[in-house]
């Protein structure tokens, strides 16, 4: 194990050449409260020990004291680059616990949300990752497009970041035809933008030098380390929850799972670029084949009534009041439900003893498990490469935190 060597490399008379350097928590490339204690021999990393920082917001503890609906806003704040994806993942887990499934249009709407979230998250990743490595132009391009993406998210959900869009049993509301046509415009134009990003970086000598053969991890190590998402696929393992264990009817969509071969930073970049194209492909199919009908389950015990009805019917008003103040009952049992979010597998393990709050809610976050490979990837690399490796793992500390 990497960490067990800590004592060996403390500064001592035996190792006068080893220098300890703190990278972060205020280093721009550590993306939040991450601090990496590096032991350096010249410019070579002998050992890297990540410290996750004291962000601790007590998500899992809070979940035990909130009803299922009340927890949805907390999922926005986990991976704040793709709140929609976490909204979808959490609601799917609760629905599995309840044993219900949203109507077809609701599933399509959620697929739109999840894939939009993937594009948005990869856009920020690409801009900041390139910025970390000195390619500032990229940042301006991707943030301009993210603005476009955020406008779409805002028009759908009413918020740019804290979307809280899905509900247990459906979504806050349906997408309007106008919004769908604007999304269609985005989907038409976006692949050309990805080509443009690629023309700036993929064959750029400096970019290739900074990323190829950097932070190499073998497929075997990546699996043992619990990596998921693009960083796992960069090693050549074609594991994607959407393909392996389809949810929301992903099995009916045509898309490819891009894989790399070298398992280095460059391949993880290529995988994410291709993923953005595949996401637009899924969006295209979802827009074209969007079924008619309701987006919500027809169960007044679980789902909030439409606002119009609340204002005109006493019975619906009572339903709304009961669901908001008291929540709904879930059966006793336990489920683990996983979704493929931009960073990998996001799993919710819910233990219910019956009643309105989960007895225990466990969040298996991809960022936490991906970041655990940092030490293994960094050792033997140059100190400047640690920046590239952190970027390739795409950690969001809000999701690492619990």
């Amino acid at each position: 194990m990497a960490q067990s060597k800590i004592e060996t490399f403390e500064y001592s008379a035996d190792h006068p050449e080893i220098l300890t350097v703190n990278m972060g928590p205020s280093h721009p490339a550590t993306h939040g409260v991450l601090r990496v204690v590096l032991k350096l021999d010249g410019e070579t990393v002998v050992q890297a020990v990540p410290h996750l920082g004291y962000l601790h917001r007590g998500m899992e503890k809070i979940a035990e004291n909130r009803t299922y609906l009340q927890f949805i806003p907390y999922t926005d704040r986990m991976d704040y680059l793709s709140p929609l994806a976490a909204n979808v993942g959490f609601c799917l887990a609760v629905e599995e616990l309840l044993g219900i499934r949203v109507p077809p249009r609701g599933e399509f709407l959620r697929i739109l949300c999840a894939e939009l979230a993937r594009i948005g998250s990869h856009l920020v990743w690409l801009g900041t990752h390139a910025l970390d490595l000195g390619a500032a132009t990229m940042f301006f391009h991707t943030f301009k497009d993210r603005e476009w993406h955020y406008d779409l998210v805002e028009d759908l959900t009413g918020a740019r970041l804290t979307t809280s869009f899905t509900r247990v049993g459906g979504a806050a509301h349906d997408a309007t035809p106008d919004w769908l046509s604007r999304l269609d415009e985005f989907v038409r134009a976006f692949p050309a933008r990805v080509d443009e990003y690629e023309s700036l970086l993929t064959k750029n000598t400096i970019w290739v030098d900074r990323t190829q053969n950097v932070g190499v991890i073998s497929a075997k190590d990546a699996i043992a380390q619990g990596l998921t998402g693009p960083r796992l696929r960069s090693t050549g393992v074609a594991y994607d929850v959407r393909k392996a264990r389809p949810y929301l009817g992903y099995e009916k969509f045509e898309f490819d799972v891009p894989v790399g071969s070298a398992g280095d930073v460059y391949d993880s970049y290529l995988v994410r670029m291709e993923e953005m194209r595949q996401s637009t492909r899924i969006l295209r199919q979802a827009i074209d084949n969007m079924p008619d009908g309701p987006v919500n389950v027809d169960d007044p015990k679980i789902f909030l009534p439409a606002k119009k009805k609340v204002l005109t019917s006493m019975e619906e008003l009572i339903h709304q009041f009961m669901i908001v103040t008291e929540g709904f009952e879930c059966p006793a049992g336990e489920v683990y439900h996983a979704t493929e979010v931009p960073k990998g597998e996001l799993g919710f393990y819910i233990v219910s003893t019956g009643g309105k709050c989960p007895y225990r809610l466990r969040i298996r976050s991809s960022a936490f498990n991906n970041l655990s490979a940092l030490a293994r990837m960094s050792e033997g690399e140059l100190v400047a490469d640690v920046v590239a490796i952190i970027g390739s793992l795409d950690p969001v500390m809000g999701e690492v935190d619990r």
């Binding site: 503890k61 004291n65 489920v335």
Partner: protein, 152 residues
């Protein structure tokens, strides 16, 4: 066929005295495994080609203060080859001990540290068992049921 049920059947045949119980909910199965036998069962689950659970997805725990063994360590395994998932539950005392799985899957390292940090369960044989999310001088274990959400 419910997920994980075949593996649990094989586990009962190979380790009759290590499996304390099993259960199923919404097509997901779990087996309750004795803490002292966990290591050999886990090694068999990983290495036996019929099981091939090569990914350790998650290690966490659930606190049941009323039970004689209040801490239940919950382990989620995934087999890529068979596309199957299995949940193991390991009941243990207030502070463990539970054998560490770091020797079998390196992903156990951080997950067990987090479990120790939140519940105070000691994982025997873990190379670096210290707090991961909370400050080093913090004395309590936040996810235990006796710790209230607010202390006014």
């Amino acid at each position: 066929m419910a997920e994980g049920s075949e593996a649990i059947g094989r586990m009962r045949a190979s380790f009759p005295d290590a499996v304390l119980g099993e259960g199923e909910f919404r097509g997901q199965c779990w087996a309750v495994v004795k803490a002292e036998r966990l290591l050999e069962v886990a090694k068999w689950l990983r290495d036996d080609p019929a099981n091939a659970y090569d990914v350790l997805l998650d290690v966490t725990a659930v606190h049941w203060p009323e039970e004689p063994l209040p801490m239940h360590v919950v382990i989620h395994l995934h087999s890529r080859e068979r596309n199957d998932r299995l949940r193991l539950k390991v009941p243990t005392g207030d502070t463990g001990p539970v054998p560490s799985l770091t020797g079998l899957w390196s992903s156990a390292d951080w997950n067990e540290r987090e479990c120790f940090d939140m519940f105070g369960i000691v994982f025997e044989g873990h190379p670096d068992l210290r707090r991961i999310l909370m400050p080093d001088d913090y004395t309590e274990f936040p996810l235990r049921k006796e710790l209230p959400l607010f202390r006014g």
